[in-house]
């Protein structure tokens, strides 16, 4: 916040002078005053800069609010439309929370930041003046040169964590801690939850059955813990030997007595969280350490007994905005992590592995194929420094027998083919499954799920490893809602199933798995709206599936919405943070306005077994258990248990805010518990219902962890 003040103070008042200096013809005076623009500067810093940056350049999915990109998006629209837009949608996660005058002032500031000249008439929200008639997109130098702000690098914004003391705020002294061995990770004890998705295969299944379909209705709250305010929260606890390790927001790591909720140690590593890109989805435990890849792309190993930092290592060059959200796995003595927010800069994104004892980098696999390397010819001559995407924002899985780690990658960037100028080229290794040797990072095989993908439809999510007799398969589902089955030894395509309505692809070659686009997608142009079902919220998004082996059922949280997408003309040079485009949302045809769907598929046959729909989307992963009960939470604050084999709802509880994260099960002293978090933020799966479900309300705070169990005395 101090930085914003330093660089932006008086910026609005400097604009008239800047116009005089340029000698350009001045557009008409704008319908706002200099005083409004100055007040808007302050309000922008407090409410907007964390995502859109102090220089209004935008970042990632947060669009630019100044310069050519802004003018391309908004030049033909009016000041009133801009005002209506931010009033309806902003601040992110707190839409409509500011008063009308503040939105008017922010509108004035944004216009002034695009070269509009203040006038004598105050903007009251009703003046509909074409933005290109008053603004040029020329950003005053005081604003353009403002320090890249927000996110983890300073600046304020909605959802930013309140100030707090960083460091080891409670020193632990856990006695009788049992180191986690490789054997424990390969064959986890059902009482523990040692790995992000429960086991290396990402089944998100518990072998516990004390809580079952007959008694789940008696679940009651045992303890809870209020998590940090600010930032996104989509995490899940890790449990070992009755100790819960939690990746709280603002890169805070905590250890609790999992039975009582007593805090055992706490280390606030920082940096403090903003709402954008700050959801840590997991941590990892191995031997006597807890591992966390912090949002500033730094990998830490903490002493599991005390919380003390044992070592730390940079995953990516510090201070460049690289980011981590997906959590990590530890396999064969190495902590393996992905990387995100590699847009507009080098190096490209990569997956990397670190010696679990020392933090020394062991290997790195770059997920963007460079010219002259294998796959480098799949970018239609796009220069290397313009090849972007392939982010890895969900931790991978691991087959100990094959010693292969499996990772999904996100789409190439910019989102749309027309913007990135790559046509239908497959842009390796975006939207692919990668099979990497866990010891060397060597690529064993890859499978490109969506060559030429163009609607921000990631295929980055969990890779679930399932054996059908002797056949070792890998199953995954991405935003397009297509459930894929591959041979995980060879990468050969085996099968695919559509799980939600989609209109992006009009066919698939069932021998190769190659998708064919709807014809009008192939002739897309920039600055033209084009339809995509599902929207960028999926289909299926980050809330992971669960696999119940005994019933051979994969239970999948699905999201039903569509969008119109418009791709920008993106500047073709490095160093430019490039908001890729715009979108308009609408309800998916044939769904009666229901955004949420939970569905179960038999994985051997890909046969759909059951599904149900509801108005609100599911924002947690699914946890299935040996008690024939599966747990899942949603945007409307409902945490529920369903019968795994039928989908019938058996139990619900309404929590204080959005139920978001990853449910887990564990046992202490012979008693089974189920834990879940509430959380805010989380990208498209959270923002789409925020925009579309006006009747669904939730507080914009209340992140916490909740632990449920059966009563000590059963009815």
């Amino acid at each position: 916040m101090r930085h914003l003040g330093k660089y932006l103070t008086g910026a609005a008042f400097m604009i008239a002078g800047a116009w005089a200096a340029t000698g350009l013809a001045q557009p008409a005076a704008a319908p706002f005053t200099a005083r409004q623009a100055e007040a808007g500067r302050v309000a922008y810093a407090a409410n907007c800069a964390a995502c859109h940056q102090a220089n209004l350049a935008g970042s990632g999915e947060q669009p630019a609010l100044a310069g050519p990109q802004f003018m391309a998006a908004w030049g033909r629209r009016s000041t009133k439309e801009f005002y209506d837009d931010i009033r309806a949608e902003m601040p992110y996660g707190k839409a409509g929370s500011l008063d009308a005058a503040t939105y008017q002032n922010i509108t004035a500031f944004v216009m002034s930041a695009n070269g509009a000249k203040p006038g004598n008439t105050a903007f009251d929200g009703n003046q509909a003046v074409r933005i290109s008639a008053i603004a040029t997109g020329q950003v005053p130098s005081a604003i353009a040169n403002a320090r890249r702000g927000g996110g983890d690098e300073g600046g304020g914004g909605a959802g930013r964590a309140p100030a707090m003391r960083l460091g080891r705020t409670l020193v632990g002294d856990i006695k009788n801690y049992t180191p986690v061995t490789d054997a424990m990770l390969v064959h986890p004890d059902p009482k523990d939850w040692l790995i992000y998705r429960g086991n290396y295969q990402a089944w998100s299944h518990s072998g516990l059955s004390q809580i079952n379909a007959n008694n789940v209705g008696q679940l009651q709250l045992k303890w809870s813990w209020a998590m940090n305010e600010g930032g996104e929260n989509a995490t899940g606890p890790t449990i070992h030997d009755g100790i819960m390790f939690l990746a709280n927001t603002s890169n805070t790591v905590e250890a609790f007595d999992a039975k009582t909720g007593e805090l055992l140690w706490q280390n606030r590593l920082g940096p403090l969280a903003s709402r954008a890109y700050s959801a840590l989805r997991s941590l990892a435990v191995y031997e006597d350490k807890v591992y966390i890849n912090a949002t500033d792309a730094k990998l830490y190993a903490l002493d599991a007994r005390t919380g003390k930092v044992v070592w730390e290592s940079d995953i990516a060059p510090p201070g460049k905005g690289f980011n981590e959200t997906g959590g990590l796995i530890v396999a064969h003595g190495k902590a393996i992590v992905g990387l995100t927010l590699c847009r507009g800069q080098m190096p490209h994104c990569y997956i990397s592995a670190y010696d679990a004892n020392t933090g020394k980098q062991v290997w790195k696999f770059t997920t963007i194929a460079a010219p002259g390397t294998p796959g480098g010819d799949t970018w239609a001559n796009v220069p290397d420094d313009m090849r972007a995407g392939g982010e890895t924002w969900i931790a991978g899985t691991y087959d100990p027998e094959l010693n292969i780690t499996y990772w999904g990658t996100a789409q190439s960037k910019p989102w749309m083919q027309a913007s990135r100028r790559s046509g239908t080229a497959s842009t390796l290794y975006a939207n692919s499954t990668l099979a990497l040797d866990a010891d060397t990072g060597q690529l064993k095989w890859y499978f490109s799920h969506a060559p030429g993908e163009t609607f921000d439809l990631d295929e980055v999510f969990e890779r679930v490893l399932i054996d059908h007799g002797p056949q070792k398969t890998l199953m995954t589902i991405g935003k397009a809602g297509i459930l894929w089955k591959l041979d995980r030894v060879t990468g050969k395509f085996l099968d695919a199933k559509q799980t939600v309505f989609q209109n992006v692809y009009n066919g698939i070659d069932m021998k190769t798995g190659r998708l064919s686009f709807r014809p009008d997608v192939l002739v897309q142009k920039t600055n033209t709206w084009i339809s995509s079902c599902p929207s960028a919220a999926g289909g299926h998004d980050w809330p992971p599936t669960s696999y119940d082996q005994k019933n051979d059922l994969m239970i999948i949280p699905l999201d039903q919405s569509c969008n119109m997408m418009l791709g920008h003309d993106v500047a073709q040079h490095t160093g430019v943070v490039q908001p890729e485009g715009e979108e308009k949302v609408f309800f998916m045809p044939g769904t009666e306005g229901n955004m949420g769907r939970l569905a179960a598929y038999r994985t051997a046959t890909m046969e759909p077994v059951w599904s149900f729909q509801q108005r609100s989307p599911f924002l947690t992963g699914v946890l299935s258990t040996d008690g024939n009960v599966s747990f899942v939470g949603d945007y409307d604050r409902v945490f529920r248990a369903v019968e795994t084999t039928t989908g019938k709802t058996l139990w619900t509880v309404r929590l204080p805010t959005v139920v978001q994260g990853n449910p887990v099960a564990f046992a202490v002293d012979g008693k089974q518990y189920v834990a879940i978090t509430t959380g805010l933020g989380g990208g498209s799966p959270f923002s789409k219902p925020s925009s579309m479900l006006g009747e669904v309300h939730h507080p914009d705070h209340g992140q916490a962890v909740y632990v449920f169990a059966l009563p000590d005395k059963m009815n």
Partner: protein, 171 residues
């Protein structure tokens, strides 16, 4: 309900080819057109339409409510896919302002019939503050919605009418 299932069975088994002997029934909930924050306040509302096809004659009935501004026109549109906007093809009639009803009988060309049976035809209601679209809904085979949270066997999806091989079905 029985009639609905019968109609669905005709569609599913017949693959939507040829002219059915009985009326084919289509329906849609009308929901907001694609919008961003700037449009949001003007594209609210709710509605429902059903359409019966006899030969090439399509009779549409429906209702709408809670529009932010008075309805101005209602038309059938056809695009290149389900959920893909296209051009207006035929006019329908409306009565009422912020709430009201939709009606009309139109003759479809063979091309329009094909589009309807592929799910590419939709109803769009325009209003004074949203002249380029307030509510829309794609005409798909009328189907029973079992209710929120009520599981149904199978995938529970409408058939993907325009995808060769009926990708959603068990092969």
């Amino acid at each position: 309900m029985h009639a609905i299932r019968t109609v669905l069975a005709v569609f599913l088994l017949g693959g939507f080819s040829g002219v059915a002997s009985a009326a084919e029934v289509y329906a849609s909930r009308l929901t907001s057109v694609a919008y961003d924050g700037a449009m949001r306040a003007n594209v609210q509302g709710d509605g429902h339409v059903s359409a019966a096809l006899n030969g090439s004659s399509l009779t549409v009935t429906g209702d709408f409510t809670a529009l932010p501004s008075a309805a101005s026109s209602v038309k059938l549109y056809s695009g290149p896919g389900i959920g893909v906007p296209g051009d207006a093809i035929l006019d329908l009639q409306l009565s009422g302002q912020n709430q009201g009803s939709i009606s009309g009988t139109v003759k479809l060309s063979s091309k329009q019939l094909t589009a309807l049976r592929q799910g590419h035809v939709y109803v769009q209601l325009n209003s004074q503050k949203a002249p380029d679209g307030n509510l829309w809904g794609w005409l798909l085979p009328e189907h029973a919605f079992p209710g929120a949270d009520v599981p149904e066997k199978g995938h529970g999806l409408l058939p993907q009418l325009d995808v060769p091989g009926n990708w959603t079905e068990k092969r």
